[in-house]
Amino acid sequence: MTAHVHDNINYLKTSKGLKSWLTTVDHKRIGLMYLASILVFFITGGLYALLFRLELWTPNKDFLSVDQYNNFFTMHGVIMVFLVVVPGIPGALGNFVLPLQIGAKDLAFPKLNLTSLYLYWLGAILAVISLLAGHADSGWTFYAPYSLSKNPAVMWMLTAAFLLGFSSILTGLNFIVTIHKMRAPGMTWFRMPLFIWALYATAIMQVFATPVLGITLILMLVENFFHIGIFDPALGGDPILMQHFFWFYSHPAVYIIVVPAFGIASELIATFSKKEIFGYKFIAFSSVAITVIGFLVWGHHMFVAGQSEVADTIFSFLTFFTAIPSAIKVFNWTTTLYKGSIELRTPMLYGLQVLFNFTIGGLTGIILAILSVDIHLHDTYFVVSHFHYVAMGTTMIAFIGGIHYWWPKMTGRMYNEVVGKFASLLVFVGFNTVFFPQLIMGSQGSPRRYYHYLPDFQIFHQISTIGIIILAVGLFTALINLLMSLRRAPDAPQNPWGARTLEWEFAETPPVLFNFKETPVVTHGPYEFAKEGA
């Protein structure tokens, strides 16, 4: 029975060589390849941000030309949205963790999963081609008619985003089917970890919203090449229609970005408090509620764009409802800490940062739904900051926390805890130093995407630029700390955090090829810390 022996060794050692990785259908290896790719692009997108923030040190030219600046913020946006935050948590951590957490051997469609990864890489290659083809300068929102200027770099970028959309749809489909059909015996819906609920809600949005992005991008390309007159007003097209299409995807995309982060935050806060999560069903359903409401609020991106006042009013009304599930999550996480047994390990420090940053991200979102106030704040740095409190402060911080949490399971190694905590502190201080001043600068009236600005705003820009240096040092410290652990012999115990979910209680560290030596039978909920022992 050699096959069984083979199956029972750690997934990193079942086969060797580059080919074994490139042709693998193991969700864990695919997850790791996603992780490595996403980190490469996170660093790339971050370097763009670092460079243009340094350029903003003074109101006039420092070392980048205006066209370089416009190109850099476009590249930063496109890379971070389409190559990092949208695919990030589902592609890397979702892939690795989802089957383990529900007691499955793999995802439902392992080959489709590998196809998603290849589509991601193909999209990434096209983004690099765009880089070589010239200066894409449309911003990540590709607003027409500016983006219809036949700039080849923009067209490569549109094609890249189109392919990345397909990768996202296929991952979502795979997750939905897996969650429905592959749960281990005893893994009822309400015994699923909240990370699974979050991935489930995300997957629904990926499958339903992303096709609209695909259609929009195809129409943009058609318009660019054949001048049919869909979005170009010079040809009788409607540029506002393009905005409706774009935000019909891109608003749900914000929830595609942030909902998985809610899932990770729930895991971290419950596990490191040794506490049953407060209001499990409320948190699970609030993810689903955000999914549904998230589809109905896209018009709030267009309050100054010239849609009807009636539409503005309806979208404002609906947008306020997203505040409720978001607020419930924050209250539930905070209450989970009450009477817990709280241990501030590195992942928990990131979990608490998510709670802090998301509270600011959420509160600054609600004010943008107040119509009369939004008119003033629209397209200013206030919006930039709000968005980054969500996409970076919530999603990327949760992602980094999740990497620290599941790193021992993925690699079999523990990292240096002191360095890890120190890095997380730098990240916290750095992030807030970058983005808090931007809230004030924005409400004072400073427009976004500005190379050249009023001297009154210089102090805010300078604090922000100092912040990004602290943030960059923190992120590199965290990365080096993780990578250094790989040089050591495997030392991670099976369940270093005392977690109650399957990947820690049942799966070895690192897991075997098909995750579990025998199918786990689930007898308790994901956070039942009162009943010790399986």
Partner: protein
């Protein structure tokens, strides 16, 4: 020191500013309160319930509390519905101009603004309006989407090619107030600034009289210099010899310049006028063919004035 300026908001100079700032400040204090409660609770719990022994369990497993959950669903719901009503009322007021509003037509183009007063029959590159007079801007763009933002008035609206979009305001004090373009529109987006000059009704009448014939009492070159900034040439062409988006005008008159297609051309009246009306035909080497055509925008007299101005820039 302007007393209407705060840490968070710029000075107030329109009838909207008070109500927008009232809603902003109301919300600011609500959110500060929420944020403070959350952060204080987190800090307190983290310290108070810190794990002291490795095997220490939570002291209680509380999974549910109907009263708490109902309360923290209901209170935010009530607050956000109140905010919705406040925002909606303020917004509708912003969108419906009074019937006695004075109309100004606004045109955005890469990367300049121009203002035409249909009733007064004058044009300008800096918006001039009388104080305490409702003004309705009817706005359109000749190229891509721009957005017209006056922070001190707390209002903005996108300026869209192929359609008209409007906004209105009533200035409450005299002075000069910054205008920004807030919809990304390419290279010089962040230079697409102008100002609203709010004056007394008498000053406004005097200004209209002077603006009605801007060439009056001026040499063609002097008039050309006014047009240079008014028509937006300034966004791309410098007059000090430095390189801009387009060739500098300093010292260009009379010399021979290489073109993109390899030919050369002498900069004379014929070439300058052709470049205004069909700018993409003979593009100077090293520059992009991105200048919008001014065919029909400039009168013969204005073209002559610009030629005279370029000629004067030795």
């Amino acid at each position: 020191m302007d007393t209407t300026k705060s840490v968070w908001l710029p000075e107030q100079a329109s009838t909207f500013a008070n109500s927008v700032d009232w809603a902003f400040n109301l919300y600011l204090w609500i959110s500060v309160a929420f944020f403070a409660i959350i952060v204080v609770l987190i800090a307190y719990f983290v310290v108070k319930y810190a794990r002291k022994r490795p095997d220490q369990l939570a002291t209680a497993q509380i999974v549910h509390n109907t009263f708490l959950e109902t309360t923290w669903t209901a209170i935010p719901l009530i607050i956000v519905m109140a905010l919705f009503v406040v925002g909606m009322k303020g917004y509708w007021n912003m969108r419906v101009a009074p019937s006695n509003a004075m109309q100004v037509d606004v045109t955005g183009r890469k990367w300049a603004w121009s203002f035409d007063y249909p009733k007064e029959g004058v044009s300008t590159d800096t918006l001039v309006v009388p104080v305490h007079q409702p003004v309705r801007l009817r706005m359109t763009s000749t190229d891509v989407i721009h957005s017209f933002f006056i922070p001190a008035f707390r209002t903005k609206a996108d300026v869209i090619p192929g359609r008209y979009h409007s906004l209105w305001f009533e200035a409450t004090k005299t002075g000069v107030f910054q205008v920004f373009c807030t919809q990304y529109c390419g290279t010089n987006h962040s230079y697409m600034w102008t100002a609203v000059k709010v004056v007394t009704p008498d000053e406004f009448q005097a200004w209209v009289a002077a603006a009605a014939d801007p060439s009056k009492g001026k040499t063609p070159a002097e008039f050309g210099e006014i047009l240079y900034s008014q028509k937006g040439c300034v966004a791309c062409h410098t007059v000090d010899g430095s390189t801009g988006i387009g060739p500098t005008w300093k010292g260009i008159w009379g010399i021979s310049v290489p073109l993109e297609d390899g030919r050369s051309v002498t900069v004379d009246e014929a070439y300058v006028k052709k470049s205004m009306n069909e700018p993409a035909t003979d593009v100077v080497k090293g520059f992009q063919p991105i200048m919008p055509p001014f065919q029909g925008v400039l009168s013969d007299k204005e073209e002559d004035a610009l030629v005279a101005y370029i000629q004067s820039l030795k």
